[in-house]
C-alpha cells in the first residue's frame, strides 16, 4: 500500500472536517467558477486528491521502478538521464526530391530520426497517374510510386545511421520492401536497418480510414510481415499500434487508450494464431499516442498504457521476455487541437502537449508546427517546433529526474481511473469476440463519433474553451506564410513514373506480379515477393492492383 491504514484513517477524518469547515465556509461565500470541472474528455475531475484517493494502490505492484514491471514509471531504468527521446518530425511533401531536401535540413538541425509522410495516393495504393490521384499528388506527403522515388528520398542519408519511421498501413509491406532494397544498394544489410512501419490497419477501419483491403486479408498481410521481419529485419518495429488517429477522430483519452490496446491485443492474437512465438515478435511492437490539450489526463494515459500492456502481455499472452511486456511509444502533439485562428498560439499549445508526452515517458516525439491547420509546415515553422522539443530537453530541467509526477495523488488517481475505464472497454470488446468483430459491428467507430459530436456541442455551448475560437477571438488575424504545393508537382511526378516504366525490364515486372498473385492466393509469405517485385521496379499501384484483384476492396461502412 502507498499509505498505511492508520494514517489513511487520520487523513480521511481530517478531509471530512476540512470539507465541513474551511471549504464549506468558503463555498458559501464564493462558489466555484463552474458547477462541474471536467477534462477535455469530459472526465469529471475531483476538487482535491489526497492519499485516500490512491489508497488501494500498492507501490511495488502498481508503480514499481523504471525499467521494471509493470513499468508505470517508465520503460528504461535511467530514462532521459541516459538518453533523450528521439526527436522525430513527421515530414514529406511534393516530389521525392523536395522531401530529400527537407530531411537533410532537419538532420542538420539536430533531429535524430526520420519520419516519412506519404501522399494519399501512396497510402491508398494508387500510382500518381491514376485518375483517383488527381489533385492529391504530393499534397499531404511525398509521392512514392516505385523504388526510384525511395532512392531519391534517402539519397545521401546513411540508412545504417538513422532510423526511419514510415506512416504507411495498407501498403506497408511494399514500402518496407523498398526501404530494404534502398539500404541494400547503399551496402547496408537488412539486419542493420532500424525503424518503424505503422502497419496498423485496425485503426484505419476505426478512425483514419486509409484502408485498401477488407480486415481479414489485411491481417494476413500483417502476419506475413511479422514473420518476415522476425527472420530478416530483426531491428525493425513491425507495427506501430496507433491511438493518435483514434484521438484525432474525436475519441476521449480513455477511448484512445482502450481501442489502441484492444488493437494491440488483436495483433498479438493474430500472430499467436499464425503460429508465431509471442516473445519472437512482441518486442518489435511499438505504440503511437496523441498528446492532446488536457495536460494531466495525457500523462495519466501514458502511465496507464504501460501498466495495462505489461499486464496483458504477461498474464493474458504468457509472454516471458521483459521486452515483450514493455510498451514503448512515439507521441505526436494533437493536430486537431490546433487552430487556424491566431496560429501563433499553436506554439504554446504544442509546448504544453509535448511536455505532457515527456512527463509521460515517451520514446520519441513529433511536435506539430503552428501552421498545420492551414497547410503543410514551412521550414521556419517546423524549426520552431523542433526547437520546442530541444528547449524542453535541454532548458526546462524536466529530464533530470524520472517520472517526476509519480506519487502525485491526482496523477496516480487519474492513472488508475484511465486504466479502469480502458479495461472496461477491452472487456466489452472481448465479449463481442475481439476487436475485428467489434470493428465489423461498428462499435469503436460509433463510440468515437458520439464523443466527437459531444465535444463539438460543448465547444459551441462554450462549456469547453478554445482560445481564439470561442473565446478571445479577434477580428483581425495576423497572417503567417504557408507552404503551397504547386500543381506542377503532379505533372513532374507523372513524368518520372513514365520514365521508370519505360526503362525497366518489362518481362521481369510481369513475372513478379504473377508471383505476387500466386502468393496471395496461397499462404506463401508475401513480404518476400514484395522485395523481389520492387527491386525490378514494379510500381506500388501495380502490386496493390494485383492484391485488390485477389483480396477485394474495403468500402466505407458509413457508421454515423
Amino acid at each position: 500500500m502507498l499509505f498505511d491504514t492508520e494514517s489513511l484513517k487520520e487523513v480521511l477524518a481530517q478531509k471530512e472536517s476540512w470539507t465541513r469547515e474551511e471549504l464549506a465556509k468558503l463555498l458559501a461565500e464564493s462558489p466555484e467558477r463552474q458547477k462541474r470541472f471536467s477534462s477535455i474528455s469530459d472526465q469529471e475531475i475531483p476538487r482535491l486528491c489526497t492519499p485516500d484517493d490512491c489508497g488501494s494502490l500498492d507501490y511495488l505492484e502498481h508503480l514499481g521502478f523504471p525499467g521494471r514491471y509493470p513499468y508505470t514509471r517508465g520503460v528504461q531504468p535511467s530514462m532521459y538521464r541516459g538518453r533523450l527521446w528521439t526527436m522525430r518530425q513527421f515530414a514529406g511533401f511534393g516530389t521525392p526530391e523536395d522531401t530529400n531536401q527537407r530531411y537533410r535540413y532537419l538532420l542538420s538541425q539536430g533531429q535524430t530520426g526520420l519520419s516519412v509522410a506519404f501522399h494519399y495516393p501512396t497510402l491508398m495504393g494508387y500510382d500518381s497517374d491514376h485518375p483517383r490521384s488527381r489533385g492529391e499528388v504530393g499534397k499531404c506527403g511525398v509521392a512514392v510510386d516505385s523504388l526510384r522515388d525511395m532512392e531519391v528520398i534517402f539519397d545521401r542519408i546513411p540508412l545504417d545511421k538513422v532510423t526511419t519511421s514510415m506512416t504507411i498501413n495498407g501498403p506497408a509491406g511494399i514500402l518496407l520492401a523498398m526501404y530494404i532494397v534502398v539500404a541494400e544498394k547503399q551496402g547496408v544489410t537488412p539486419d542493420r536497418i532500424g525503424g518503424t512501419i505503422q502497419n496498423d490497419i485496425l485503426k484505419e477501419y476505426i478512425a483514419q480510414k486509409s484502408w485498401i483491403f477488407p480486415p481479414r486479408p489485411s491481417m494476413r498481410i500483417i502476419t506475413d510481415i511479422l514473420a518476415y521481419c522476425t527472420r530478416h529485419v530483426p531491428r525493425w518495429n513491425t507495427i506501430s499500434i496507433s491511438g493518435y488517429h483514434i484521438r484525432e477522430a474525436g475519441a476521449t483519452a480513455a477511448q484512445e487508450l482502450a481501442f489502441t490496446i484492444a488493437d494491440g491485443i488483436g495483433y498479438v492474437q493474430a500472430g499467436v494464431d499464425a503460429g508465431l512465438d509471442v516473445d519472437a515478435f512482441a518486442p518489435r511492437l511499438s505504440f503511437f499516442f496523441n498528446a492532446h490539450a488536457d495536460f494531466f489526463e495525457e500523462i495519466a494515459k501514458y502511465r496507464a498504457a504501460r501498466r495495462l500492456w505489461a499486464r496483458i502481455m504477461r498474464e493474458r499472452f504468457g509472454a516471458r521476455k521483459e521486452a515483450s511486456w514493455k510498451l514503448r511509444f512515439h507521441t505526436q502533439t494533437a493536430g486537431c487541437s490546433l487552430t487556424a485562428q491566431q496560429p501563433m498560439n499553436n506554439v504554446v499549445r504544442t509546448t504544453l502537449q509535448a511536455l505532457s508526452a515527456v512527463l509521460g515517458g515517451t520514446q520519441s516525439l513529433h511536435t506539430n508546427s503552428m501552421d498545420e491547420t492551414l497547410a503543410l509546415p514551412t521550414e521556419a515553422s517546423v524549426t520552431v517546433a523542433l526547437r520546442t522539443q530541444q528547449i524542453i530537453a535541454e532548458e526546462s530541467g524536466v529530464t533530470n529526474t524520472i517520472d517526476p509526477l509519480g506519487g502525485s495523488y491526482f496523477v496516480e488517481w487519474l492513472t488508475d481511473e484511465m486504466e479502469k475505464q480502458a479495461q472496461k472497454y477491452i472487456d466489452k470488446i472481448d465479449q463481442m469476440g475481439g476487436i475485428v468483430r467489434a470493428i465489423e459491428l461498428g462499435f469503436p467507430q460509433r463510440e468515437i463519433g458520439d464523443a466527437a459530436y459531444h465535444y463539438q456541442q460543448q465547444v459551441e455551448k462554450r462549456e469547453k474553451i478554445i482560445v481564439g475560437v470561442n473565446k478571445y477571438a479577434m477580428r483581425e488575424e495576423i497572417p503567417i506564410p504557408i507552404l503551397k504545393i504547386d500543381e506542377e508537382v503532379e505533372r513532374r511526378q507523372v513524368e518520372n513514373l513514365k520514365e521508370v516504366k519505360r526503362k525497366r525490364d518489362q518481362a521481369a515486372v510481369k513475372k513478379e506480379l504473377e508471383k505476387i498473385e500466386k502468393a496471395a492466393r496461397s499462404n506463401e509469405n508475401l513480404m518476400e515477393r514484395f522485395v523481389d517485385a520492387v527491386r525490378v521496379y514494379c510500381t506500388l499501384g501495380e502490386i496493390i492492383g494485383v492484391l485488390r484483384g485477389v483480396f477485394g476492396e474495403h468500402r466505407d461502412p458509413g457508421m454515423l
Partner: protein, 339 residues
C-alpha cells in the same frame, strides 16, 4: 416543369425531381401520377426488410450488381428514420451502394420517414408506382429496419425479403411477431458467422410447424372481405401455396447471392402465375385503391382542417362546451364533399 416524355425516358434529372415533389407533397406531383398510371405495372417490386445491422444495404448493393449483369435496370428506394425530435434525418443507406453511382442503369433514392410509421415513408407507394411507370425493371425498396411492425412493405412489394444475421442474440425472437409472416424469402445474411446454420434450422422448424407463418390469400371471395379491410390489418396477398424459401448469403463477398436471386425469381414466377387469376388481380386492385383512398381522405381532411384555420374554430367550439367532438368530426367530413 417535368415532362412525361422525360420521365418515360428515365431521364435522371426528371426522375429525381418527381421524387422530390412526391416527397414534399406538391400538388403537381399528383397530376403526373395520374398521367403515369397507365404505364405502370411492368416492374418487379421487391421489398427488403429486417433488423438493423442485418446488412440490408450491403445486400441491396449486391442485388443491384446481380440484376445489372442480367441486363435489367434497377431503382432503389432506401428509407431511413427521421429524428422524432428535430424531424431531420441522416440518410446513409446509399453509402454502401456508391459503387453504382455512375451506372446509368441504376437510380438510387434516399427517403426519410418524416414521422410515418410502418417502415416506409408515407409517399413510398407513390414513389414506387412512379418508378414503375418510368420503366425501371426492378425496384428494390429497403425499409427502415428498426425491427417491429414493418409490415407495410407487404402491401407494396410483389416479393418481400426478410433479412437477418446470426450472432445478434436470439434472431428469431428478436424479429417480432408480424414481420416473420410477411417473408417470401428469408435471407440469413453474414452467413460466414457462427450460428448461421442454427438460425436456418430454427427458421425451418418454424416453417414446418407452420405456427406463425400464415399462407397468403389469393383473393378468392374478395367481395365479402370489404368490411375486414377497413377494420383489421391488410391481408397478405400472394400466390397460394407458396412456402417461404430460406437462403444463406454473405453480403460483403457476394456469396449466396445467386441462390437468393434464384429464390426470388421462383417467387416472381409464382406471383405472375397467380396474377392470371381474375380474383387475385381484383384483390390487388382493391387493396391499392383502399390504400390510396385512405391517404386521399386523410390528406383532404387535413387540408380542410388547416384551411382558413378550421381547426381553431373547432377547438374554440369545443372549449365553449356547446357540442361534442364526435358531432364536429362528422360535420367536418361532410364539409369535405362540398370542397
Amino acid at each position: 416543369m417535368i415532362s412525361l416524355d422525360a420521365l418515360r425516358a428515365r431521364e435522371v434529372r426528371a426522375c429525381a425531381r418527381l421524387m422530390r415533389w412526391l416527397d414534399d407533397g406538391l400538388p403537381e406531383a399528383r397530376v403526373l401520377l395520374k398521367q403515369l398510371y397507365p404505364h405502370a405495372g411492368k416492374a418487379w417490386l421487391v421489398g427488403i426488410t429486417g433488423n438493423p445491422g442485418a446488412g440490408k444495404s450491403t445486400l441491396v448493393d449486391g442485388l443491384i450488381q446481380k440484376f445489372r449483369t442480367r441486363g435489367q435496370t434497377v431503382a432503389v428506394v432506401a428509407v431511413d428514420p427521421s429524428s422524432p425530435f428535430s424531424r431531420g434525418a441522416i440518410l446513409g443507406d446509399r453509402i454502401r451502394m456508391q459503387q453504382h453511382a455512375l451506372d446509368e442503369g441504376v437510380f438510387i433514392r434516399s427517403f426519410a420517414t418524416r414521422g410515418h410509421l410502418g417502415g416506409l415513408a408515407s409517399t413510398t407507394a407513390d414513389v414506387v408506382h412512379a418508378l414503375d411507370a418510368m420503366g425501371w425493371d426492378v425496384i428494390l425498396v429497403e425499409t427502415v429496419g428498426v425491427g417491429q411492425d414493418e409490415v407495410e412493405i407487404q402491401n407494396l412489394a410483389h416479393t418481400t425479403l426478410v433479412v437477418m444475421a446470426p450472432g445478434m442474440g436470439d434472431e428469431i425472437q428478436a424479429i417480432k411477431a408480424g414481420i416473420l409472416e410477411i417473408a417470401d424469402v428469408f435471407v440469413v445474411n453474414k452467413a460466414d458467422r457462427d450460428g448461421a446454420d442454427r438460425t436456418v434450422r430454427e427458421l425451418q422448424m418454424m416453417l414446418e410447424l407452420g405456427s406463425s407463418v400464415e399462407e397468403p390469400e389469393d383473393g378468392r371471395g374478395h367481395e365479402s372481405q370489404a368490411r375486414k379491410d377497413f377494420a383489421g390489418p391488410m391481408r397478405r396477398l400472394g400466390p397460394r401455396g407458396w412456402r417461404p424459401r430460406i437462403v444463406k448469403t454473405v453480403g460483403l463477398t457476394g456469396e449466396g447471392l445467386d441462390g437468393l436471386v434464384e429464390a426470388m425469381l421462383e417467387h416472381k414466377k409464382a406471383y405472375q402465375e397467380a396474377m392470371k387469376d381474375v380474383d387475385f388481380k381484383k384483390a390487388l386492385l382493391r387493396r391499392e385503391f383502399l390504400e390510396i383512398f385512405r391517404r386521399t381522405l386523410l390528406q383532404r381532411g387535413w387540408s380542410y382542417l388547416m384551411h382558413e384555420d378550421h381547426i381553431r374554430e373547432i377547438v374554440e367550439e369545443l372549449f365553449g362546451g356547446k357540442t361534442d367532438p364526435y358531432t364536429l368530426a362528422e360535420q367536418a367530413v361532410s364539409a369535405l364533399g362540398r370542397l
